[in-house]
Symmetry: C2
Subunit: 149 residues, 2 copies
Amino acid sequence: MNYKDSFREYLGKNGLKVTQQREVILDEFLAAGSHLSTEELYRSIREKYPHIGYATVHRTLKLLAESGLAAPRHFGDGHTRYECSNEEQHHDHLICTICGAIIEFENPGIERLQEQVAAKHGFVIEQHRLEIYGRCSSCLAGKGKKEKK
Amino acid sequence: MNYKDSFREYLGKNGLKVTQQREVILDEFLAAGSHLSTEELYRSIREKYPHIGYATVHRTLKLLAESGLAAPRHFGDGHTRYECSNEEQHHDHLICTICGAIIEFENPGIERLQEQVAAKHGFVIEQHRLEIYGRCSSCLAGKGKKEKK
DNA sequence: GTTAAATTGAAATCCAATTTCAATTAGGGG
DNA sequence: CCCCTAATTGAAATTGGATTTCAATTTAAC
């Protein structure tokens, strides 16, 4: 089942309605690269659909998160960003402190060690967050390539 | 050199002044357990020193962070928390989603794997943040032990 | 002691997130 | 297809922690 159907199903099961705005916002969310902030997605949508308000974008992103189709992230710039929860596998992030690029990665070895650490403290893991901040290869090579993410 | 002297040295080198408030706030910050929010530290200080304002606590914590004596953390409850940067070794956190307890841990193996991941992407690490959220042993055992951190 | 520069603290401001509320829309029932 | 009620929308207002403003005060160099 695709994203649109999943979202419609979630809405239906919860007595919520399928609206034009929600459809548009989901489409644009999927079309835009991941890790967009509410503000960025709103600006992007406003170009084609000037009648859609910021509050609706905000609320729809929260709905997507509740439905499990999107996941909120915080990378320290004060803006909540959302990414698609497409992959079944958990992933973490490399964030460039120069250009803001965000690279996803997976590492089962790290996950395994985390489980060991948790077990040692009698902890049961619900979720985790690993963010590595530094300089990406582009910024290290030609400084000034100013990739805007 | 102890914390107080380190802080005084930092202040001196930067043309800043050693004030009673800054001394008190550093003392209380060191005395209180780590991971206190600005608000929590302010409340704690206010009992003994009602004349010290929130803004001063806030500014002093930022100064401590700039001087390298404290490090700001964000654990998702919307409050900035500060911890002592005493240990030379980097550490990460286990956070209980029930009682809010925060446990520090170190794991060189995880650090090593992070370096490998970064290298694979041509990334140079500046810092990282690993937070593991879950249920601590106390909360798993006697539910209701309501440890308030 | 004098004095300029730094600091303080109460209040104001900032700003993203969130909520309010009147007008509009979805969609089940008839 | 129309009605009707609950859900939704969007502009504006509100929230809340972080930060700044600014007049009064304090530090510390001279």
